[in-house]
């Protein structure tokens, strides 16, 4: 998958003994597994494993819940199929007209309550982790969504990046080459340091937009009248495509942007070069990644892109 960073140490190293745990803990235990094992062995279910610290937490909750849902779903499907196949009409005999079985009904009320409360517990823990903002972010970026594009202002740095869907200043596609139809372009780049915390302050200049980076497992509305603040700690350098998810009018489908996570030193170099060049709206960061390839960590970024 194009958006994934190359190195994923966390995804390797399968754990021994997990099957033992699973056997003793049952379906509820499976829910608890992600926290115990750090999710090393959890399947991705087509989702992103989360390229940020926060996004990875969400991924663990997601994957654990999918497993629980599969367990519950399988049980119910089997019950349905059994009833449907086993009790097909075979004769005109009158079945027993039973209607209530209180103990059974109580059981299947109580068990779902327990499952749901467990999920709620994990939810609260995860959402607090995901929404937590650090007191000392390394960089602060103000993101302004507008019809139809994005503006990224680096607070106190006099650097800003602006990209409009209808006139992309530097149309580059996923493969790093110029893109022909607008729909294959990446849009403006939001550059941030990998391994450090970036504070995003999200606002909208007109209607509601959705700031969504799939690989980060995170989305938040850019809502007029509301200022949203959240943190990303990108784990590995890379280019992550992103786009607006909340329908915002005619060009909503083309409202792309992308996140470029650079190693901190390169990030600062990029910031300095942007400050130096007088025009605020800018050179394409993806290009800068591409230009400094030899031997640098950015080479792996390029390979991923």
């Amino acid at each position: 998958m194009t958006d994934k960073p190359t190195g994923k140490p966390a995804d390797q190293a399968p754990h021994k003994g997990s099957s033992l745990l699973r056997r003793y803990l049952g379906p509820l235990g499976i829910l608890a597994l992600p926290l115990m094992l750090g999710g090393c062995t959890l399947p991705s279910f087509y989702g992103f494993r989360g390229a940020t610290k926060q996004g990875h937490d969400s991924f663990l909750l997601f994957s654990g819940t999918v497993i629980a849902a599969i367990v519950v779903g399988t049980i119910v499907v089997l019950l349905i199929l059994w009833a449907v196949l086993r009790y097909r009409r075979r004769s005109d005999e009158m079945p027993k007209q039973f209607q209530y079985h209180i103990p059974l009904e109580i059981t299947y009320t109580v068990i779902p309550i327990l499952i749901v409360l467990a999920l709620f517990g994990f939810t609260v823990v995860t959402e607090n982790a995901v929404d937590a903002v650090s007191p000392h972010p390394a960089v602060a970026v103000k993101v302004t969504a507008f019809q139809w594009g994005w503006r990224f202002d680096y607070s106190g740095q006099h650097v800003s990046v602006l990209g409009e869907t209808t006139q992309d200043p530097d149309p580059v596609g996923l493969n790093g080459r110029p893109c022909a139809p607008a729909v294959d372009c990446l849009g403006p780049g939001l550059v941030m340091p990998a391994g450090e915390t970036t504070r995003i302050t999200l606002v909208s200049a007109d209607v509601v937009h959705g700031f969504y980076v799939p690989a980060f497992n995170f989305s938040r509305y850019a809502l007029p009248g509301v200022t949203n603040v959240f943190d990303f700690t990108v784990k590995h350098p890379g280019i992550y495509r992103a786009q607006c998810t909340q329908f915002c009018g005619l060009y909503h489908a083309l409202m792309f942007f992308h996140v470029v996570a650079l190693p901190p030193a390169q990030f600062r170099a990029w910031l300095r070069s942007e400050q130096a060049s007088s025009q605020p709206a800018a050179s394409h960061p993806a290009a800068s990644v591409a230009s400094s390839r030899q031997g640098s960590p950015a080479a792996s970024v390029k390979a991923a892109a």
Binding site: A83, H101, Y108, P112, F120, D131, V207, Y212, Y221, G249
Partner: protein, 573 residues
């Protein structure tokens, strides 16, 4: 006319007694709930086919990246209209204006709805509301293109100028009033016009669910109407309720809308749960398992559903996440009860798979997956990674299609003989089911994957090279299969119209009161009534030896049945 129950047979001794107008005039002037119910049903099915046609256009467009079949503007108008027509004008009205209107008075043993003329007015407001919304396509700026939710400020006069948007708003005013009138009518009918012995806890579950739905309508629709009035005032009368510039609060719109919108989802679902709950016992030849649990489950779903509105606003960053997440998760509990009760009803039954029952099983499977993914979405961190992606599109179609289409057509196939006195063709019905069932899964399963791969919803086009192409292609193929399945449905209707096969009063050996009267029922419904001693009066009457027993073997009910029917005894037909 003041209706006396004393000698209803004398009042309506001969069918010609009621010499109301015929032809077009009959449809314009009738206050009979059966005629109005049919008008509703036919209109909403037409809407369903229009909106379904739009869905196919959308799917053709999305079958490949960079598609240029539709322009961005056209796509935006079409998906907005598809969603709006399906939700406001098909799924709801088909259930509470159509089937419920026809069936509820029959199920409770009433001669008509409590307010027949108000009922007729509901229909006219619904019809004109539908016309109003569709008129948008014929205005200069085109139809509304701000999604079925019309979020402010995208729906403001600046961002969505043009008459199409205004027509969309006033259309909701008309249909909103129509829904409220129907709600009042249903509640009053159920509270005041029941047959002797038909206590609240003997009401068929469909009736129970419609009662609860009607209450939800009364809670939710006035809020929608208020939101629409505010929106219109912002657009034309210079107010600034939802615009930041004048000191308004855009997010207030979302609160108002979803305070309506989430209960609305259950207004669309509960009637269909009710249909399924009435149908499964009939084809299993058993009473509903856990009747009382079912009633309380319905009530708790409805109650909780009014406290979860902001789960659609998790990503706004300004709502109380734990409150809304907990309330939403808890809905899974009564929903689970329903599932186990449905399964318990089939358990050790003698299940016959006629078309309505097949559709019920289709519903169970569809709604199971839709429900499980719904539980996932109730958890804010998971919502953060799926919100406004195709994951959500897959989720709500599994629920809405599962209810409004699978369960809705189960109800349609089930009650068709009652409404028209004719049978539908079984093989054609089964082909319809299987094609639709396969098409359904082929359409929506890939959408979950698309969402997880990051494809946002409401996009008219998408980039190549992201692995989205093939999945979209498969989804489109599935949707064509669904479209084809409906040709068999139409063929079936055609067949029964041209070559009628008489159905008789009770073709399914069913349980509830409506199957006691003739098909179609006479004016004012009943010439005579059986005694009501359980929630299965018709069954009790025909199977006096097969009464309900509870798990400890005791018989429920205490009066002998079968001896005392009306004054004449025996069933007609």
């Amino acid at each position: 006319m003041t209706l006396l129950a004393e000698h209803p047979a004398v009042l309506h001794g001969h069918p010609e007694h009621h010499e109301g107008p015929t032809g077009v005039l009959k449809w314009l002037t009738s206050t009979d709930h059966k005629v109005i119910g049919l008008s509703y049903m036919i209109t909403s099915l037409v809407i369903f086919f229009i909106a379904g046609g739009m869905a196919i256009l959308l799917r053709v467009q999305l079958a490949s990246p960079h598609s240029s079949l539709l322009s961005l503007q056209q796509y935006n108008e079409l998906f907005t209209m598809h969603g709006s027509l399906m939700l406001y004008l098909f799924a709801g009205p088909f259930a509470f204006g159509g089937l419920a209107n026809y069936i509820i008075p029959l199920q409770v043993g009433a001669p008509d709805m409590a307010f027949p003329r108000l009922n007729a007015l509901s229909y006219w407001l619904y019809l004109t509301g539908s016309i109003t919304m569709l008129m948008g396509f014929f205005t200069a700026g085109g139809a509304a293109a701000f999604a079925w939710v019309a979020y402010a400020p995208l729906s403001s006069a600046i961002h969505s100028p043009g008459a199409g948007a205004d027509l969309w708003i006033v259309s909701l005013l008309l249909t909103g009033f129509s829904a409220v009138f129907t709600g009042v009518n249903l509640v009053t009918t159920i509270f005041y016009l029941r047959a002797p012995g038909m206590t609240m806890f003997r009401l068929p579950i469909f009736t129970w669910n419609m009662l609860v739905t009607a209450i939800l309508i009364l809670i939710a629709f006035p809020v929608l109407t208020a939101a629409m009035v505010f929106l219109f005032a912002d657009r034309h009368f210079g107010t600034h309720i939802f615009s930041v510039k004048g000191g308004g609060v855009p997010v207030l719109y979302q609160h108002l809308f979803w305070f309506f919108g989430h209960p609305e989802v259950y207004i669309l679902a509960l009637p269909y749960f009710g249909m399924v709950t009435d149908i499964i016992p009939v084809f299993s030849r058993k009473p509903l398992f856990g009747y009382k649990g079912m009633v309380f489950a319905t009530m708790s779903i409805a109650a909780l559903s009014t406290g979860v509105w902001a789960h659609h606003m998790f990503t706004t960053g300004v709502v109380l996440l734990p409150f809304f997440s907990l309330m939403s998760l808890l809905i899974a509990v009564p929903t689970g009860i329903k599932f186990f009760n449905w399964i318990g009803t089939m358990w050790r039954g003698q299940i016959r798979f006629d078309t309505p029952m097949l559709f019920c099983v289709g519903f169970l499977l569809a709604f199971l997956m839709g429900g499980l993914t719904g539980v996932m979405l109730a958890s804010p961190p998971i919502d953060f990674l799926t919100h406004d992606t195709y994951f959500v599109v897959a989720h709500f179609h599994q629920v809405l299609f599962g209810t409004a289409v699978f369960a809705g057509f189960a109800g349609f196939y089930f009650w068709f003989p009652k409404m028209f006195g004719r049978k539908l063709n079984e093989p054609l019905g089964k082909i319809h089911f299987w094609l639709m069932f396969i098409g359904f899964w082929v359409t929506y399963l890939p959408m979950y994957v698309l969402g997880l791969k990051g494809m946002p919803r409401r996009v008219a086009t998408y980039p190549s090279g992201l692995g989205w192409h093939l999945l979209n292609q498969v989804a489109s193929l599935g949707s064509y299969l669904i479209a084809i399945s409906f040709l068999f449905f139409l063929w079936n209707i055609w067949t029964s119209w041209r070559h009628p096969v008489a159905a008789g009063a009770n073709p399914w050996d069913a349980h509830t009161l409506e199957w006691f009267t003739s098909s179609p029922p006479p004016h004012h419904n009943y010439l005579k009534l059986p005694p009501v001693r359980s929630e299965r009066p018709t069954w009790d009457y025909f199977h006096p030896d097969a009464r309900t027993i509870s798990h400890n073997g005791r018989r429920n009910g205490h009066v002998k049945v079968g001896a005392e029917v009306g004054s004449t005894g025996g069933s007609d037909q």
